[in-house]
């Protein structure tokens, strides 16, 4: 047997705990009051287009992109705009949001095809596809929420050679991409074709970890109907779902320090994003709902839900069976990169891939001790950095040293904090250092532009 491919540098093996892998998607009920933030993506906040008292239809544009890296926001329900006010989001900070009280009857915006029929023909030109994706406000659904249309417009002089579809889902607990591949296989294939057409590429590879044999088998079977798409099984290892790690695993190419996947001729899109692109292009459906896994070791009924954006997590959890007893921590997203929630009033956003419960005994950090120089963090870092050093120099505010040691190449996967035998908060500090250095770089760039 040939050894399965995986990325070369570092990586860890957390218990995958995919309890909800065999649970088909269930539609969650509409929220009573949808709270839709205008910053659900990386980049500039969208500009609010509605005002208090306005009636909106499902799928109506309520906030428009306000810059090159920004995304449109659509209403996920039919109802009345109650207020435009600050609302807490998963970061624990209050940000501008549009509150929409849901009507009993749902009215869709004109031109949206809500049927489940598969549309295979792609009559659109690459420009039209990018325009449609932009209009629908599609962003990366893996969690990074980078506007998809920007990824589909490579900078001049650079040409994509491959499209890689990310079906790795290396985060423990989460199973939404797995279910999407099983239940929306054909949509995924057409979506991949659309991405290939938009980028003018004839080769696409779907990377799937070998803990999802059913998805590998099913997609391998149906991919024969669609030319140019191959399925690549991969050996399980976290963080294989990182763009750069996935490219390294599949093609053996190394994205240069500070570079983007397009520098090695690749564009990576998540499975969920690809289906969203399919819906946006073929059905004119804006991104108003997403798939969310609700799970946890102490959660009796782990499951996958299709949830409208803006549904408060409280309502989703109630529908899923309520917060289990003895819960010490609730995380939005996956356990490795997600954020602990400070309130259940936080709504589901475009990047919310899961709600994970942790029992009290597993919820707490252990007190940290001095570094014992075991270099485990160095050996697991998928970016080839020295986390112990980056933490120390950040602690001492020696940001120039941090910069020389490529702190900006950190992908914030958390492998270092996961593996550290003395429980040092490595990623916490590295994130601070990375942000500070990024701010410095941005300030320098702005100054240069002025000159």
């Amino acid at each position: 047997m040939v050894a399965l491919k995986t990325f070369k540098k570092g990586g860890v093996h957390p218990a995958d705990n995919k309890f909800s892998a065999d649970k088909p998607f269930v539609k969650a009920p509409l929220p009573k009051m949808a709270i839709i933030h205008v910053t659900q993506h990386l980049g500039a906040p969208a500009k609010v287009l509605v005002k208090k008292g306005d009636k909106v239809k499902t799928g109506q544009l309520i906030a428009e992109a306000s810059g090159f890296i920004s995304a449109n926001i659509h209403s996920s329900v039919t109802g009345k705009v109650m207020k435009i006010d600050n609302a807490i989001d998963a970061s624990g900070y209050k940000k501008t949001a549009i509150y929409i009280k849901t009507d009993k009857e749902e009215v869709w915006e004109d031109g949206i095809d809500t049927s489940d029929d598969l549309v295979k023909d792609i009559p659109y030109s690459p420009q039209e596809i990018v325009e449609k994706v932009k209009k629908a406000g599609v962003v990366g659904m893996g969690g990074a929420t980078f506007p998809t249309n920007v990824k589909l417009t490579p900078p001049p002089g650079k040409k994509a050679e491959y499209v890689i579809i990310n079906g790795v889902e290396c985060e423990p607990y989460l199973t939404v991409d797995h279910r999407t591949m099983l239940e929306k296989g054909h949509e995924l294939m057409v979506g991949t074709k659309i991405l290939m057409k938009a980028l003018g590429v004839d080769k696409a590879i779907i990377g799937i970890e070998n803990n999802k044999p059913d998805a590998i088998e099913y997609l391998t079977k149906i991919s024969k109907e669609y030319g140019g798409i191959t399925i690549q099984p991969l050996k399980m290892k976290y963080p294989q779902g990182g763009e750069k790690q996935l490219i390294n695993a599949i093609l053996g190419r190394e994205v240069p320090s500070g570079g983007l996947p397009i520098d090695v001729g690749v564009v990576v899109q998540n499975v969920g994003t690809t289906v969203a692109v399919y819906k946006a292009v073929q059905k004119n459906m804006p991104l108003i709902e997403r798939t969310v896994t609700v799970s946890g070791t102490n959660f009796p009924n782990p499951a996958n839900y299709i949830v409208r954006i803006g549904t408060p997590i409280k309502e989703l959890v109630e529908f899923a069976g309520g917060v289990p007893e003895n819960t010490g921590k609730i995380i939005a997203g996956g356990p490795m990169t997600g954020k602990a929630l400070s309130s259940l009033d936080v709504p589901v956003q475009k990047g919310t891939s899961g709600v994970i419960f942790f029992p009290e005994e597993a919820a707490h950090r252990k007190p940290y001790q001095d570094c014992i120089r075991c270099a485990k963090c160095v050996s697991v870092c998928p970016s080839g950095l020295e986390p112990y050093l980056l933490m120390t120099v950040t602690e001492k505010q020696m940001y120039d040293v941090a910069r020389k040691n490529h702190i900006t190449d950190c992908i914030e996967c958390g492998s270092c904090s996961f593996i550290c035998p003395t429980y040092r908060p490595l990623l916490d500090y590295i994130r601070l250092g990375k942000k500070t250095v990024m701010d410095q770089i941005r300030a320098e760039r702005a100054q240069k532009q002025k000159k």
Partner: protein, 344 residues
């Protein structure tokens, strides 16, 4: 034996003499002309090397002083006016006296005023916590209580109050070097000019939320009601982002704003105790009215249980503030004694 000894002494001695001559001429040749006043100035400076003046260390500041045409933009916050006078004397220049500044913590959200509804377990570092999330309370502007400012202070002028979870500035030790201002990721600490007898009035809140959420998150928040703005006759108060800000340069310390503030967000420090009762604005006002109606003008202690219920949280606030107030009282008394002596 003695010959060997003599030989070595003579040889070494000769080498020493030759080297000394070479060194002398080299030193003459490569002599660096330096303003001798720089050394004098450095001598006069406090040698704290804190960077509060804006220069990297006392030596650099001394050099800047020696080069400068006037001392208008140069000021050593640690040494204060005394040191600057000495520096001016050395340089033969004039120096304008500056009013003393101290660091002021603009957050009063102690444990009792702000409900903590989640637990932060990350590293004890404000900058990390601030970047991570909004904090343990609903107020996303207020103090995180992880003591970045205390660690930044070179003068031991800050410490965390365990009861309130907030940093406390020791005004006697504070040199206004600004290290804590820079360290605070939420810009809570500000350097403010002190008035007469080290008095100051400031808004102890930077929550920019509208009144409802602000008050819900913290009972002593500034709710941006504007009552103080209306009360101020000296244009010292500006309103922005649901917040009042008192300009320390314009404030005449009349305390009109303190009296009208409905949440007690405006603090007065180093003032003598009020009549009839210190620091309890609304209660004092009510008591005054009550006394007037009774025709009594003498100060009488108020029974707290007689007051309307909404005033009770205020009582807590006074308690929280007590250590500081007490200290201040002592100080004012001392000052009074001093003035008395002077008069005598």
């Amino acid at each position: 034996m003695s010959e060997v000894l003599l030989n070595s002494i003579l040889t070494l001695g000769a080498v020493a003499v030759v080297s000394a001559i070479i060194l002398y001429f080299v030193a003459q040749k490569f002599k660096v002309e330096e303003d001798p006043r720089i050394d004098d100035i450095e001598e006069a400076l406090p040698s704290a090397n804190c960077g509060g003046c804006g220069y990297p260390g006392c030596r650099a500041f001394a050099e800047a002083c020696a080069k400068a045409d006037n001392l208008d933009n140069l000021y050593c916050p640690v040494g204060g006016n005394d040191v600057m006078k000495k520096v001016a004397e050395i340089l033969g220049m004039e120096v304008q006296e500056q009013r003393r500044q101290v660091a002021v913590v603009r957050c009063a959200g102690s444990y009792e005023h702000r409900e903590h509804h989640n637990v932060y377990e990350g590293p004890e570092n404000c900058a990390v916590a601030h970047q991570l999330y909004g904090g343990e309370t609903d107020c996303h502007y207020g103090c995180l209580g992880l003591a970045d400012c205390v660690r930044a202070c070179d003068f031991d002028a800050l410490h965390m109050d365990e009861k309130t979870g907030l940093p406390v500035v020791d005004e006697d030790k504070c040199t206004a070097c600004g290290a804590c201002v820079e360290a605070c990721p939420r810009d809570i600490i500000e350097l403010r000019v002190l008035g007469k007898r080290d008095r100051k009035i400031f808004v102890s809140c930077i929550n920019e939320d509208p009144a409802g959420p602000a008050k819900k998150a913290c009972s002593v928040a500034c709710i941006g009601c504007g009552l103080c703005y209306d009360a101020c006759k000296f244009d010292a108060i500006t309103m922005y982002d649901n917040l009042a800000y008192i300009d320390d340069k314009k404030c005449v310390l009349c305390r009109a704003c303190v009296e009208v503030c409905p949440t007690g967000a405006i603090w007065e420090v180093n003032f003598p105790p009020r009549k009839p009762k210190p620091a309890k604005k609304k209660a004092a006002a009510t008591a005054k009215k009550a006394n007037e109606t009774k025709g009594q003008t003498t100060a009488k202690p108020i029974n707290i249980s007689d007051l309307p219920k909404e005033d009770k949280p205020k009582e807590e606030k006074t308690e929280a503030k007590q250590p500081e107030v007490k200290q201040d009282e002592n100080k004012t008394e001392e000052k009074k004694n001093e003035t008395n002596e002077n008069n005598n």
